[in-house]
Structure formats: C-alpha cells, structure tokens
C-alpha cells in the first residue's frame, strides 16, 4: 500500500466568502459552510469562529478535533463508510491543510469539560494550541436523544473538515510524505533480519460518549482487527468519544497517529513495521479477556517480536492494557506500553493501582491529576458555563480574579496515550 500525504502549510485562517488557500492563508466561506452543515435538518444553529495560537481564547467544551483534507487521487474523498460510500483508505494522494484543525464544540451532556487554551500556561499542555483552529459550535433542535445528538455533532465535524479540505484540492503542497509498506511477506523478504513490530492501538468502545468507529463500524462490535498503518493515516478511524479530554484520541490524532508515524520512520532501518491491531476496550470482563487473547493471537500469527501498546482512557482500560502486556510477554513478545498515570494532586501517590511485573517498559504521558493554573480568557468560544464545571472541581479552585486551577484531565490531548504530546512524569 502506498499513500502520499501532500502537506499544505497553513499560517492563518480567515472567514470570508469563498474557501481557498492563498500563500498559506486558509479562507473559509462561512455562510457556505453553515449552509452545508444545516443540510442536516436536525441542526438548528451553527457558529463558526477562529482561534489562533497566542490569542487569549479558550475553547470549551471540545468534542472532537479533525484535520481538513482532500483526496485527489485513489480512493474516495471524505471519511469512507461515514460521510462517503465505503472505500479503501490508505492509497493514492491525500492533500492536508497542515497546521489547521476543525474543532467541534457542542455540549451533549452538561458535564463535558475538554478545554483548549490558545495562550499562556494552558496552551503548554495541549497540542491543539499550536494549530489554527476553525471552531464549529453546533446546536441541535429540541427533542433529540443523546445518542443522536452525539452522532449529529460527530458527523457535522467530519463534514466541515471535508468542506474546508476542498480548498487544498488544486494547491501545490509544501511537502509530500510517502508512506509505503507492502505485504508482510514482501517486507519480511526485504528485511529478513529486522525485528517484526506491531502496534496494538486500544480504543474506547463502551457506549455513549465512549465510542470509536473504523470505516463507520462501531468498534465495540468487532474482534481486534488488523489495519495497514496507512488506513488510519488516511482517515479510516474516527473518534466518537468526548469525555476523556486528556487521553482520548481525537480524529485528528488518529489521522496523525504519532505512534504510527514514529514506527514508520524506523521501518526498513531498525524494524519491520507490520501493521496495527485495533483493539476495542470493552466494559465487560469477558470482553477484556476475549480482546486480549485475540490481540496476542494476532501478534503470534504474524510472528511479531515486539508490540507497542497504547491505551485510550483511564479506569477500566488499565485492565486491558496490562492483560495484553502480560499475555504478550508470556508468549515471548516484548512490549512497550504507553499510558498516563494518576499520582494524585501532589504527585506523591503510587501512580498505578493495577500493576504487573511484566510491564517493564512503560512510557508515562503524565499525571492526569497534575494541577495547572490558568488565567481568565479574553474570549470564550463555546459554552462559558462549562468553565464553571471545570473550575468548580474542588474548594478553592476558583480565585476572585477569575484565575482557576484545573487538573490536566480537563485539557484536550494533554496526556495523550498515543504519545502525541510531550508531557511525562519523572521521579522528583
């Protein structure tokens, strides 16, 4: 499979009357986008705005982040299985508005937090303070049940990204990246002496606000599936979960999965990167046993020497992570795990409640209870009331001048367990 990603560097976003990219400036046809999204009659109201790095802007509550793209060769444009007919992802040429992101804002339930600060202390802790964000705030008509509401907002975000992505159709990219890996037999013949490595990507798949989709299929219903890494890089995987702010994998992070990119960089040099196992995280223990067994079986079937395992979420998925780890290690397959931790607000607690002696190689992406202090914003995009949820977590969290303390767990992508951001924990 061969995929070319043409990156068009975006240096600003403006709202206007046409959608185009000129000298790195992305202009978005505001009314055209609103009209496009309102084709879904269940959407009552759409508000478009722009948040740029460094502006004193806070976006809350963030539902998803999506990278705007357009397919110009091979396959189908959009998100196959969701906003387009089913089609193979991962081949041909996809153009990316690199540096831009669609950020959907929409509270489906009142307790969502998920904040992106574009400036100051808050900005340090989220990778999405560095992107030019086109925010899409969606209100639905009355009487919509939560499941449908979530779906409407999820799909509106994808449609918006598709709409804006069109701007890159005829633009010459600043950089073209090529991703090519052949069949496991071809690659093994090419690199007979390189260790065979798989990536097991765990996904939250547990119901409302806790779902992930592959080609539009709710991953709760699948057995672990093998994907070519290109498929995920080419929009086959979509996030439907929006309450695990710090460690959920947004659609943008699937499209730019950092584990895949970093393994790709070593393919043919140090390792033979053979693919991704998409492992659903069930809430039932039987499901956890089934998935961990099946994942390890796939790894054995493919003759893997090592597996990188990334978690999504916090709480019950910790069990899945360690089950996969234990079973792999027992089968002689070396693991490296990526997870976040809770060491308490002062960092003095034992980080893990679940432990396994087999977990000898673990990357920590930060303490979810680490407290940061953020100033009040000059402008809030989204729902100002959500800040009260965020700031009211405990006594004394909110100061009189509007400065407040929040834990990293409220910040989008802060402790990303696919290692998308640069946070870690060290023993001090």
């Amino acid at each position: 499979m061969k995929l070319e990603i043409g990156r068009i560097f975006i240096k600003d976003i403006q709202l206007g009357s046409e959608t185009s990219v000129k000298s790195g400036v992305l202009t978005v046809d505001e009314s055209g986008l609103i009209a496009k999204l309102k084709e879904d009659e269940r959407i009552k109201d759409v508000k478009i705005d722009v948040a740029r790095p460094g502006e004193k802007v806070r976006i809350i509550p963030v539902k998803d982040v999506i990278e705007p793209r357009v397919k110009i060769e091979g396959g189908l444009n959009g998100f196959p299985g969701v906003t387009a007919k089913p089609a193979q992802c991962g081949e041909g040429r996809t153009q990316v508005l690199y540096g831009a992101a669609v950020v959907t804002v929409g509270d489906i339930v009142g307790f969502q937090e998920g904040v992106i600060d574009m400036w100051g202390e808050g900005a340090k802790w989220t990778p999405f303070s560095q992107t030019y964000n086109l925010t899409v705030d969606i209100n639905v008509i009355d009487g919509i049940d939560p499941h449908t509401h979530e779906e409407i907002v999820r799909i509106a975000g994808l449609r918006a990204a598709e709409f804006i992505g069109q701007a890159g159709k005829d633009v010459t990219p600043d950089e073209v990246l090529t991703f090519e890996i052949g069949s496991v037999f071809e690659e093994t013949a090419k690199y007979p002496n390189l260790p065979k490595v798989l990536y097991a990507e765990m996904m939250i798949t547990q119901g409302l606000l806790h779902d992930t989709y592959i080609y539009g299929v709710n991953a709760q219903t699948i057995l672990p599936a093998v994907l070519h890494p290109n498929e995920e890089l080419d929009s086959a995987v979509i996030s439907g979960n929006c309450v695990a702010a710090c460690d959920k994998i947004t659609t943008y992070q699937h499209q730019n999965n950092s584990v895949i990119l970093d393994l790709y960089a070593e393919h043919g040099k140090e390792i033979n990167f053979m693919g991704c196992i998409m492992a659903p995280e069930h809430t039932t223990l039987a499901g956890k046993f089934r998935v961990s067994d099946y994942t390890v079986k796939l790894a054995k079937l493919l003759g893997a020497d090592a597996v990188v395992v990334s978690e999504e979420g916090y709480g019950n998925p910790d069990s899945d992570l360690l089950m996969i780890c234990k079973k792999c290690e027992k089968a002689g397959i070396k693991t490296v795990l990526i997870t976040d931790e809770c060491a308490g607000r002062d960092g003095m607690s034992q980080p893990l409640a679940d432990t396994a002696v087999e977990a000898v190689a673990v990357v920590s992406t930060g303490n979810v209870s680490h407290v940061i202090t953020v100033e009040p914003a000059e402008k809030v995009i989204g729902k100002a009331e959500s800040i009260a949820v965020l700031a009211g977590g405990w006594d004394g969290a909110l100061a009189e001048d509007g400065t407040f303390q929040c834990e990293l767990n409220a910040v989008i992508g802060s402790t990303s367990e696919i290692g998308f951001h640069n946070v870690t924990c060290r023993l001090y």
Binding site: L208, G315, A388
Partner: protein, 122 residues
C-alpha cells in the same frame, strides 16, 4: 436471571428488575460490589468507567453474576484496585450536583451498552 446490577442510580432501578439499589454514594456502591465478589459473585462489568469525567459521576452501576461460585481472586483484585483508584481521585473533589441528571442518563446508557455487549455471549 443471570445477572444482578448493583447501582445507586434511580433511573437504573426504575428500568431494570434485577437491581440491588444502593441508597448512597458511588463508593458505597463499589463496596457493595466488593462484598458480593468476596461472597463468590463474579464481576460481569468492570467497576470503573473508561473516562475520567465519568469517574467523577455521582452515579455508578456495575453488573455482577447472579450465581455464587468460588471466590475469583482476579476479580477481588480488580474491585479492590478500583476502590483505591476511585478514592484517589475523589478525596478532595466536590460532587458535581448541577449535572446529576446527565450523569444518571450517561450511567444508564453505558450500562445498557454493557448489557447489549454481553448479550448472547458467555
């Protein structure tokens, strides 16, 4: 009936029959689950949710098997670990009462999803 639902969520108690209703906190609910595990009931669903925000929920429903077998050590460790983890996060946190209706709904929907997931499988 194969399962019992241990829950402090009134919506769950209204909707299902096989509910052991805990008139109390999430922690008390988890402690009840632990007692049942100690008596030999196996866990069907994991005691914790998969996201931090839902960990802060004032409502929680957990499914355990109805029949009583020998104590399952792994399950005992899971529930003990879950209680530790829960307490670690909630020690100083205030209950989010303003959104309790939403928390009730989400807990119910996640429970439904778990029951569906479990349907027709061992």
């Amino acid at each position: 009936m194969r399962n019992i639902i241990i829950s402090n969520n009134p919506l769950v108690a209204e909707k299902y029959e096989n509910v052991f209703f805990v008139d109390g906190s999430v922690e008390e609910t988890l402690v009840k689950v632990r007692d049942l595990v100690y008596e030999g009931h196996e866990l069907v669903s994991h005691p914790l949710a998969a996201s931090l925000r839902v960990l802060f929920s004032p409502y929680r429903s957990v499914i355990v098997a109805n029949q009583c077998e020998q104590l399952n050590f792994d399950h005992a460790e899971i529930i003990e670990g879950s209680i530790c983890k829960y307490k670690k996060h909630m020690d100083v946190r205030k209950a989010d009462e303003a959104n309790s209706d939403d928390y009730k709904t989400v807990d119910l929907l996640l429970l439904q999803s778990a029951l569906n997931d479990e349907k027709g499988k061992w």
